[in-house]
């Protein structure tokens, strides 16, 4: 690999030394996470790839994933590592399997040792996003994340930085139920076994659009605002992007709205702990040990 030749088209745009010194943990290698990982890895950012144990590429993944039929039935983690290495053989990659909710202590311990400059949250459940938020807060690591709205009509990307609003503060303002398909008529109580459809319905191009915005935010955090890869107001921490016109949100398609959501003083994740924490916790535990009347 001739690195000078490889980076020639992008070197005027990026501080390559800073880029290659960057370290990003990409958590989740689904249809969004695979794009985030591939774009960062292609540029030479050191990556820690994390996915659930035993996560294999299934046929229904392929229509929206970077990996194709040659990876069918194989580990997404191993196949994505090989894919990125093919894009940039000099990429520094490490791969680990963690279920970030069940194994959150182990995952946090590993992240603490790996010391990411940014945690790219690419998981698709709220418990996992909050678990990673707690880890990022304790490690003092910035985060980026994103979500695609049902139907692929658009999505949101966010970033958090130490001392500013955390994901818990942002989620306070996000109406998470909007990602659910709306009900189609009265509930049928006689068929309580009817399953819900938890998978977000969206096209590959809908997801890729949002994932690439997350990459921009991640690079912005890694390289600093002078890199101007995001070109958004420095105080903005949330962008809602319309892939198509969104009734009630965005009359214009292909359009982003930027928000600065404030930190919540009463946030149970990033807010200040009670001044009498030790004493109060001791009282509560002592009361629990007393026999009930």
């Amino acid at each position: 690999m001739n690195e000078t030749e490889f980076y020639k088209p992008v070197s005027p745009l990026l501080n390559l030394d800073r880029l290659r010194a960057g370290r990003v943990a990409v958590i989740g290698l689904g249809s969004g996470g695979c794009r985030v990982a591939a774009e960062l890895g292609r540029l030479g950012v050191a990556l820690l790839l994390v996915d659930r144990p035993g996560e294999l590429l299934e046929e229904h993944n392929i229509v929206r994933h970077l990996l194709g039929y040659s990876s069918l039935g194989k580990s997404k983690l191993a196949e994505m590592t090989a894919h990125i290495r093919n894009l940039n053989p000099a990429a520094k990659l490490e791969a680990r399997e963690f279920e970030v909710v069940e194994q959150r202590e182990d995952c946090e311990r590993f992240l603490a040792g790996w010391r990411p400059g940014v945690i790219a949250v690419c998981t698709d459940t709220e418990p996992s996003k909050h678990a990673l938020n707690e880890m990022a807060l304790r490690l003092g690591a910035p985060q980026t994340g994103g979500a695609v709205y049902d139907g692929g009509i658009g999505g949101e990307v966010y970033r958090t930085r130490p001392g500013e609003a955390c994901y818990g503060c942002l989620a306070w303002r996000l109406r998470l139920d909007r990602r659910q398909p709306s009900g189609s008529g009265p509930r049928d109580y006689s068929r309580p076994e009817t399953p819900e459809a938890p998978v977000t319905c969206a096209l590959n191009l809908d997801i890729e659009q949002i994932a690439l915005l997350q990459v921009r935010l991640t690079l912005d955090l890694l390289l600093g605002p002078d890199a101007r890869l995001a070109g958004i107001p420095s105080e903005a921490n949330l962008c809602v992007f319309a892939n198509r016109a969104i009734p009630g949100v965005s009359a214009r398609p292909w359009h982003g709205e930027f928000f600065r959501l404030p930190r919540r003083a009463q946030c149970l994740s990033c807010g200040a702990p009670a001044a009498d924490l030790e004493a109060r916790a001791g009282e509560i535990r002592a009361a629990l040990e007393r026999p009930a009347l």
Partner: protein
């Protein structure tokens, strides 16, 4: 429930939130590994004793609300007299950075008010029907 008992910050926040909203009417209990609140919902002259249990993955997952008395059949309940109030598939509005077990007591008041409507009219109030979600 060791995680919550070891997490002083969260434990204190839980107790403080409950005390602020419900005073001494809610009592925290530890039975073996089970940590839960005891509380009695009073709605339209009736009393519904409940327990609010902290699950293993708390606070990433919401608490379970269990009726101490057997529940009459209704569309928003799970086996074991558990009130159905969130979508367990993960995309619910539960926010561990904002919500505590005190949120569940508030929910339980609304749930039992809806139950009484259901028992009287045969239909769960429409808006609450959406709010409490699918209970499959």
């Amino acid at each position: 429930m060791k995680r919550l008992l070891d997490d002083k910050r969260r434990l204190v926040a839980e107790v403080r939130a409950m005390e602020e909203r419900y005073g001494g009417r809610a009592v925290l209990r530890l039975e073996g590994h089970r940590l839960y609140w005891e509380y009695t919902v009073e709605e339209s002259g009736r009393r519904f004793p409940i327990q609010v249990h902290y699950p293993r993955r708390y606070p990433l997952e919401p608490p379970q609300i269990i009726s101490v008395l057997p529940l009459p059949g209704s569309p928003h309940q799970r086996p074991g007299n558990e009130l159905c109030w969130t979508n367990r598939l993960g995309q619910c509005d539960w926010n561990p950075a904002r919500d505590t077990a005190a949120t569940c007591v508030h929910v339980a008041h609304r749930w039992f008010a809806c139950l009484l409507v259901y028992l009287t009219l045969g239909a769960w109030p429409e808006q609450a029907d959406e709010e409490f979600g699918a209970c499959a």
